[in-house]
């Protein structure tokens, strides 16, 4: 009898303890990852830009800015890495869905969507007791087993493709899906609210998810994946003309002003130079004011989109403060790649007779300069302003030059020490986010999934760095690798090698000779090829490249897209819209020069491939 009473007593106590644990507030930090889309390195005020971004600047002042943070040259590849901690060639984004080269098709890592071998940080955090929310762009798969709900997010409001009309029309930037598919809590939705504007609605949804999840007393992982300021350049009417004539002076002056401010802020060192203007872009002094004002108008809308996003981020921060969770939230802000320098509608439209052409004609044909930024238009800033956003670096999105792969990173939250600091030492990568979040949450990355081995995380946790125990998670022997449409790069310590396609690097197919070597500490703009002075260093990094290829499942295709498409892949000579206004023949001269150069390069490339046409 006594034993029985004791047994019951012990059982009751255990139950009480378990019940108590179950209802204790989980004090692990919330994690909020905010990703801007195609935001250039130097756009934010806190990175030297003239944009008014008070919310993010305050975050930077209270947290830490990092100046050596790396991403992939494009969005989907970056996103696959940030969610899995593995290289994009492992995670299934070895190439984009529609660009997988013939000799990589069907190979693991080249699925074109985030494959099921990898496990997302959202899944791990969900299984580890976090509420997981996503709002915004996905671009990692369209099928029911590929969408956010299937990949670890309990709540979501998601744009599945890489870009879409920012308003309720919902036109996609893909011809085969004219209407962009969205999902909400795992269900496909076919209609957006009439007053939909991407940035506002994504913020609304994130706030809604957090608010509705509060009753669970669980920490949350929020992935707020904005589509701003990705094209099409579109912004609500009140914001449309805020910077109508602000950029009439053209890109040269803005680049120089930014570079000066970046030095003053300490974002770049005093003794470095910025990249020379890209060879195919004209000096602004040679252009008539009408060209400058109209190209500047696009950049003004891009700025408005960014500032609108900053305003919405501020709204989200205010909400977190209101519910008392701001100080318990690790906030990470990044951009997914460099600024966009290409014209997506031009690519989308293809040629007369194609589906893309018809889709563009139906939905994005309007290009009058007084309509840019409104519904039915698909303007982008073009290469001249993209290189401005990338100040001080060379090139922009879609390239492995620093302008394509270096991005702003701001971190603040509990446990972050050295607030207000600008960290120029740490060499960081977007793959580091997943292990950092997992360590903070005390959650393990699984070794196996459905009996299959899960690829190990390749990124490095920043927790020690954030706590001030070290300046960088990477030592002098650690390297980072990139391969994107045939362009290649390795960064190791101060050094970087690149091998880029026409017309930015490769002159022929002499593999070794095509690698260029830069010292990024002295020359972050990659202007001076040091291959001849430091052949051993270059060779050392080429060996690292070969390791990268093996380690990350990179397939070196003989179909090097950037080289094969070099002439077509050339960006516009400078931003303009619907060919207005004229430059009195200058553009024709550029076109002819580029054609001649392109033909010559193509001829040489074909010769070096043994006449393979």
């Amino acid at each position: 009898m006594v034993k029985s009473i004791i047994r019951w007593y012990v059982a009751f106590c255990l139950l009480f303890i378990m019940f108590g644990f179950a209802h204790a507030r989980d004090n692990r930090p919330n994690i909020l990852l905010i990703v801007a889309d195609d935001l250039g390195y130097s756009d934010l005020g806190s990175y030297g830009g003239e944009f008014n971004t008070p919310s993010l600047d305050k975050l930077a002042d209270e947290g830490i800015r990092y100046t050596n943070f790396y991403v992939s040259p494009a969005c989907a590849t970056t996103r696959s890495m940030l969610l899995t901690g593995t290289d994009n060639h492992v995670a299934g984004l070895g190439s984009f869905e529609n660009f997988i080269p013939p000799d990589a098709q069907g190979k693991p890592g080249y699925e074109g969507w985030m494959n099921h071998r990898v496990v997302t940080v959202a899944s791990s955090l969900r299984d580890g007791g976090y509420s997981t929310y996503m709002s915004g762009k996905w671009h990692l798969g369209y099928e029911p087993d590929q969408i956010p709900r299937a990949r670890g997010f309990e709540r979501d409001f998601t744009l599945l493709p890489g870009a879409a009309d920012h308003f309720s029309d919902g036109w996609s930037n893909e011809w085969h899906r004219a209407k962009a598919p969205y999902t909400e809590d795992g269900k496909f939705i076919d209609k957006l609210p009439e007053d939909f504007y991407s940035t506002k609605n994504y913020t609304d949804k994130m706030i809604k998810f957090i608010e509705e999840g509060r009753k669970e007393d669980k920490p949350f992982f929020g992935f707020l994946s904005y589509t701003a300021p990705h094209g099409p350049l579109q912004v609500p009417k009140d914001w449309l003309r805020r910077y109508k004539n602000t950029y009439d002076m053209g890109w040269d002056a803005v680049r120089h002003a930014r570079f000066k401010r970046m030095k003053e802020l300490g974002i770049v060192a005093e003794d470095v130079e910025q990249a020379q203007q890209l060879f195919f872009l004209p000096r602004t002094t040679g252009l008539i004011p009408a060209v400058l004002t109209l190209s500047g108008r696009k950049f003004g809308i891009y700025r408005s989109m960014t500032e609108y996003m900053d305003m919405e981020i501020g709204r989200l921060f205010d909400y977190l403060k209101e519910i008392g969770q701001y100080d318990n939230t690790l906030i990470v802000f990044i951009s997914d790649n460099g600024a966009e320098g290409n014209d997506e509608v031009q690519i989308l439209a293809g040629r007369p007779g194609t589906q893309g052409y018809l889709h563009a004609a139906r939905n994005f044909a309007e290009s009058h300069f007084n309509r840019i930024g409104m519904r039915g238009t698909f303007a982008e800033v073009g290469p001249a302003w993209a290189q401005t956003s990338s100040t001080p670096f060379r090139l922009f999105k879609a390239h492995v030059a620093e302008g394509g792969i270096r991005a702003p990173l701001i971190v603040n939250g509990p446990g972050v020490t050295g607030k207000g600091e600008i960290n120029n030492k740490a060499i960081l990568h977007v793959m580091d986010l997943a292990p950092t979040f997992l360590e903070l949450a005390g959650v393990r990355h699984p070794d196996k999934k459905n009996g299959q081995e899960v690829p190990p995380i390749q990124g490095k946790s920043w927790v020690s760095m954030l706590e001030g125990e070290e300046k960088s998670p990477r030592g002098p022997d650690d390297w980072l690798g990139w391969e994107f449409f045939g362009e290649r790069a390795i960064r190791k310590g101060d050094w970087k090698i690149t091998r880029m396609g026409q017309p930015f690097g490769v002159q022929n197919r002499q593999e070794v000779a095509d690698w260029k070597l830069y010292n990024l500490t002295k020359d972050p703009a990659e202007q001076l090829d040091l291959s001849d002075q430091y052949p051993k260093k270059r060779q050392e990094l080429i060996v690292n490249w070969e390791e990268y290829v093996k380690q990350s499942n990179v397939i070196i295709s003989k179909w090097n897209t950037m080289e094969i498409m070099s002439r077509k892949a050339l960006p516009d000579p400078y931003p303009e819209h619907d060919n207005f206004p004229p430059t009195y023949g200058a553009e024709e001269m550029i076109r002819k020069a580029m054609e001649k150069r392109g033909e010559e390069m193509m001829r040489r490339a074909i010769e070096n491939q043994g006449g393979d046409k």
Partner: protein
């Protein structure tokens, strides 16, 4: 994408021609200024306008305005042409326009020998030849600084423009002092107007809508020899209004309204006839043919008012505009 001059030129000229096509300021009082008459062009843009008008007035009352072909108890057919030249100029850094116009044609009227005596014998009277030439000047007061170059055009997104427009007509046209029906008026007359245009929608083809209101006052000197008598007229008050809208990128339509009131007549100091009180409603369609040219068709009638008068007007208009700089840009295409 490489800039193509031809595309630029199209857009450039759409901007300029959009206004050119309609700039017609009081050249013949039989017609209105027209829709989009006060839209602005780049400085030094020239335009020529040729109009053919057919005007019919069938009156059983006592209203009188010879320039409109309205006589007491008459039937009048007017076949007129109007030729006008205009040029956009810079005046005090405001957008301004000068115009010169001449009209002519034929008037056939069955009218009383004494037009102010309804019992007088009716007879057919005709006139043909040229009317009085006019000179006009319009200057913007608000909303349209001078558009000196492509930069200004690129940044021009008007919301509300207010102009002042003046016109003077020189009495050198065909006039017979023994006929009530004439093309010329044998007197100076002038007009001052305050055109107001409110723009809705984007200032881009396909999206432009405007509400246009032009109140004006016309004043007339004495005609010292109208059928041997001295004729004086009170000022004529005029209110012209249009609601215009782009139907396609190269076609716009307009609903047109005109109200004319006043113009009391005295002959040798004695009041005769009724004052003019004429309201017309109509429509206009305007089509851009190419970079330089547009055509326009209008029909107006007073069917909303006045049982004693049936007046209507058909108008066909061809406009040609050019700007030397833009034409030179076109030439570069051939280099």
């Amino acid at each position: 994408m490489i800039i193509s001059n031809s595309k630029f030129i199209s857009i450039m000229l759409l901007l300029t021609i959009g206004g050119i096509a309609t700039a017609f300021v009081g050249t013949a009082r039989a017609a209105d200024d027209g829709a989009r008459a006060y839209w602005k062009n780049m400085e030094d843009t020239n335009f020529l306008s040729f109009q053919m008008l057919q005007f019919n007035a069938d009156s059983s009352g006592d209203q009188f305005d010879p320039s409109l072909g309205i006589y007491p108890n008459s039937e009048t057919d007017m076949d007129l042409f109007v030729l006008m030249y205009g040029r956009q100029i810079n005046l005090f850094d405001r957008s301004a326009m000068i115009t010169a116009s001449i009209y002519g044609g034929d008037i056939n009227s069955e009218i009383g020998v004494d037009p102010f005596d309804s019992t007088s014998v009716r007879a057919r009277q005709t006139a043909s030849g040229f009317g009085d030439p006019s000179l006009g000047l319009t200057i913007n007061l608000h909303g349209a600084p001078n558009l000196a170059n492509f930069y200004d055009i690129a940044n021009y997104e008007p919301k509300l423009t207010v102009d002042v427009s003046t016109l003077i007509t020189i009495p050198v046209g065909e006039y017979e002092d023994d006929s009530a029906v004439n093309l010329g008026q044998n007197r100076w007359w002038g007009r001052i107007a305050l055109p107001v245009v409110y723009y809705l929608g984007s200032y881009a083809p396909l999206y432009r809508t405007s509400i246009e209101v032009t109140p004006s006052v016309l004043v007339f000197a004495k005609n010292d020899d109208f059928l041997g008598q001295e004729m004086e007229n009170d000022p004529l008050l005029q209110l012209e209004a249009h609601v215009t809208h782009d139907i396609t990128r190269t076609l716009f339509g307009s609903i047109d309204f005109m109200w004319r009131k006043g113009f009391d007549t005295e002959l040798d100091g004695n009041d005769v006839g009724d004052e003019l009180d004429l309201k017309t409603l109509g429509f206009t369609v305007d089509y851009v043919i190419n970079d330089n040219s547009t055509v326009r068709f209008s029909y107006h009638s007073n069917f909303i008012d006045d049982d004693e008068l049936d007046a209507d007007m058909l108008r066909f208009q061809f406009n040609y505009g050019w700007n030397a700089l833009v034409e030179n840009v076109k030439q570069l295409e051939h280099h």
